[in-house]
């Protein structure tokens, strides 16, 4: 599996040392490891920059390959060859690729992602309007996945071979096999069409409810901020099914790693000592073992986000969710390519930033990072 690498990492982590250093931190003045965390942040930002440069180059190459000649488009109806050539010169399309890459990068630095042909609006602002909808969905999906996967993995690890372990095995095997768009459709059929429990699966709110005032752009949070419980309930009702479709697809790697990492931790010496000292099982499993077993789970989040951001596009289509994915699909169908390029770039940079955050969380959770860097 793709996560064997992570599992190998999990095994190699010296847990005894981890525990010892978490005691050692008590002896160190607080500001020293705060300083180290800043250094970690700066070092990590340094490694993110080449990734961003690489992503910009790849999106540029994709831009060049995209069908449709922008010069022919701007030349209007009935263009002559001369007028196309003239516009090509104006747009700089006759220059060398390297110069074009340079001006493309300069445009990006100024936030110019081009203009959508269908709406006539700048792509950047259109993407930014739709981004909160997508993020709300992605994070809710992640929340569903984590809150199902971690308890499942922990319980499966405490009783290997039991029925919970079998359930865990079943869920992790079947979860990754269900295409998220199909899960979404099944959920709609069962919970909307057959049972009538959930509202019509179109968008973020039903037509009778007004959107809450924008603070974060997350309807559930904004409605809570406004104290409007009715809107909160309405937005949550729309959110549940797509979030569960995403969650089911992405919980498998999390549950697998939690289980594997917990089994390793539970068989280590310090847990044996804790058991021998007569600590309550609950405290051993949650307080000691899970705290140490969680690190490889955090590492897996990077892969989980790759799953989530991709599956988001399909789920947005199924639920008519007005996010960046639906926007990209609609633009593709209309052969409007600037939004598609913008979307790809946006998603890649978002993914790089999410990986950055994951690494920082890892640094926060792992005491060795603070002491040794």
């Amino acid at each position: 599996m793709r996560w064997t690498e992570t599992a190998r990492l999990a095994r190699s982590i010296d847990l005894k040392r981890a525990l010892r250093s978490s005691y050692a931190k008590l002896l160190k003045p607080k500001h020293i490891w705060e300083l180290n965390l800043y250094r970690l942040l700066i070092m990590r930002l340094g490694t993110a920059i080449p990734s961003i440069i690489g992503v910009v180059i790849v999106t540029f190459l994709i831009t060049r390959a995209l069908p449709g000649d922008p010069a022919a488009y701007f030349a209007g109806p009935n263009p002559t060859l001369e007028s196309i050539e003239e516009i090509r010169q104006q747009l700089g399309l006759d220059r060398s690729w390297l110069l074009q890459l340079e001006s493309y990068a300069a445009d990006l630095l100024h936030g110019r992602l081009g203009t959508s042909l269908t709406t006539g609006q700048p792509v950047l602002s259109e993407l930014l309007i739709r981004l909160p909808a997508s993020l709300e969905l992605t994070f809710s999906g992640l929340l569903v996945a984590i809150s199902a996967a971690i308890p499942l993995g922990v319980v499966a690890a405490t009783r290997p071979g039991s029925w919970v372990d079998q359930v865990c095995r079943f869920v992790t095997t079947v979860g990754v096999c269900l295409p998220p768009f199909f899960t979404g459709l099944l959920l709609i059929y069962i919970f909307y069409y057959l049972l009538g429990w959930s509202p019509a699966p179109f968008g973020r709110l039903d037509i009778y409810t007004a959107a809450p005032a924008t603070h974060t752009g997350f309807y559930t949070i904004d409605s809570l901020v406004a104290g409007n419980m009715e809107t909160f309930r309405a937005s949550l009702a729309q959110l549940i099914l797509p979030a569960v479709s995403l969650g089911i697809f992405s919980l498998a790697p999390l549950a697998r790693i939690t289980r594997a990492s917990m089994i390793t931790t539970l068989s280590s010496d310090f847990i044996r000592t804790a058991r021998a000292s007569g600590l309550p099982t609950r405290k051993i499993v949650i307080g000691y073992a899970l705290r140490n077993a969680i690190l490889p789970v955090v590492t897996t989040l990077g892969m989980v986000f790759s799953f989530l951001l991709g599956a988001n596009v399909m789920v947005e289509k199924v639920f008519a969710w007005p996010g960046v994915g639906s926007y990209a699909i609609d633009s593709l169908i209309a052969s409007d390519y600037a939004p598609v390029q913008g979307f790809v770039l946006f998603m890649a940079i978002l993914y790089i930033l999410l990986n950055l955050v994951i690494d920082l969380i890892y640094g926060l959770l792992d005491p060795r990072f603070r002491l040794t860097t």
């Binding site: 990734s51 994709i62 390959a65 990754v176 295409p179 199909f182 069409y193 169908i333 890649a348």
Partner: protein, 281 residues
């Protein structure tokens, strides 16, 4: 050989699911090969008189909006879906494997360059990268294969690089070098055969993801176009009929997808147990 057979029997007995997956994959391949013979109806022929029939004889899995037989379309789609994913994985295997071999064996600037390349590809969410590639190259089966291959190349390149690196200075490689074999010969006769088991496992596991990826692209309208029978398109065609209660149009192709991916994933786990017993979990 006898030893392998015994181990195979042991794995299948210990884990009947693996045996089931082996049988299922054989069935899928048979369906792909004999599709024209076993299809009860013409998968493309539409009859408005028999549109939206629920599953019953002679349409065992029902018909869609245009009166096309779903069972026949499902069988016809096996060939397309399997050939897309098999060729994509094969391409990723060859290209990614070669890059990984070069990087892992020679090290130095080739390793840095290839590492940078795979890192850049991995900086994209994989499905989004596939979307971008198909959007750029145009809607066709070949481009779906290319896109699916490209997103899998980094996985193979990384795996093979690490495994090659471990073996580069192994005793048997040093022995081969001392007895005067050329570097290229060592690469292909000493190192490559030892990498095959672990890459075979990876192949089976990525097959499942490749099927999902291709179906997902078709579902959102990229790649294979209707009326071609393909599982992702069939689910998307059935989506609009779901809220009228015609569940069978979307559900059966979805179940086929589920079974195909499930089968290859379990097969991968079984292959790992068979070929690489050390990493058993």
């Amino acid at each position: 050989m006898n030893e392998t057979l015994r181990q195979f029997r042991y794995i299948v007995v210990a884990n009947p699911l693996t045996g089931f997956a082996f049988i299922l994959s054989a069935l899928f391949i048979a369906m792909a090969v004999f599709a024209p013979v076993i299809m009860p109806h013409d998968p493309m022929a539409s009859h408005s008189a028999s549109a939206l029939q629920s599953p019953h004889a002679p349409y065992y899995l029902g018909t869609d909006q245009l009166g096309r037989d779903i069972l026949s379309r499902l069988i016809a789609a096996v060939r397309l879906d399997l050939s897309i994913s098999i060729s994509a994985v094969a391409l990723a295997f060859v290209v990614g494997g070669t890059l990984g071999l070069l990087a892992g064996y020679y090290g130095g600037w080739s390793e840095r360059l290839i590492g940078r390349l795979t890192d850049t590809l991995m900086a994209f969410p994989l499905f989004v990268l596939a979307m971008a590639i198909v959007a750029a190259l145009g809607n066709s089966v070949v481009n779906i294969v290319l896109a699916t291959a490209v997103i899998n190349i980094p996985l193979y390149a990384r795996l093979v690089r690490v495994e090659t690196n471990i073996r580069r200075d192994a005793g048997y490689v040093a022995a081969a070098r001392l007895s005067g074999n050329s570097e290229l010969r060592i690469l292909f006769t000493q190192i490559l055969p030892n990498l095959l088991p672990i890459t075979a496992v990876q192949t089976s596991l990525t097959m499942g993801y490749a099927i999902l990826n291709a179906a997902g692209l078709s579902f959102i309208g990229l790649g294979v176009q209707p009326p071609t029978p393909e599982w992702g398109i069939m689910v998307s065609e059935g989506a609009s009929e779901l809220l009228s209660g015609h569940w069978w149009i979307a559900v059966f192709p979805g179940l086929m997808l589920l079974m195909a991916v499930f089968c290859f994933n379990i097969l991968g786990d079984g292959l790992r147990d068979l070929l690489d017993p050390r990493s058993r979990t």
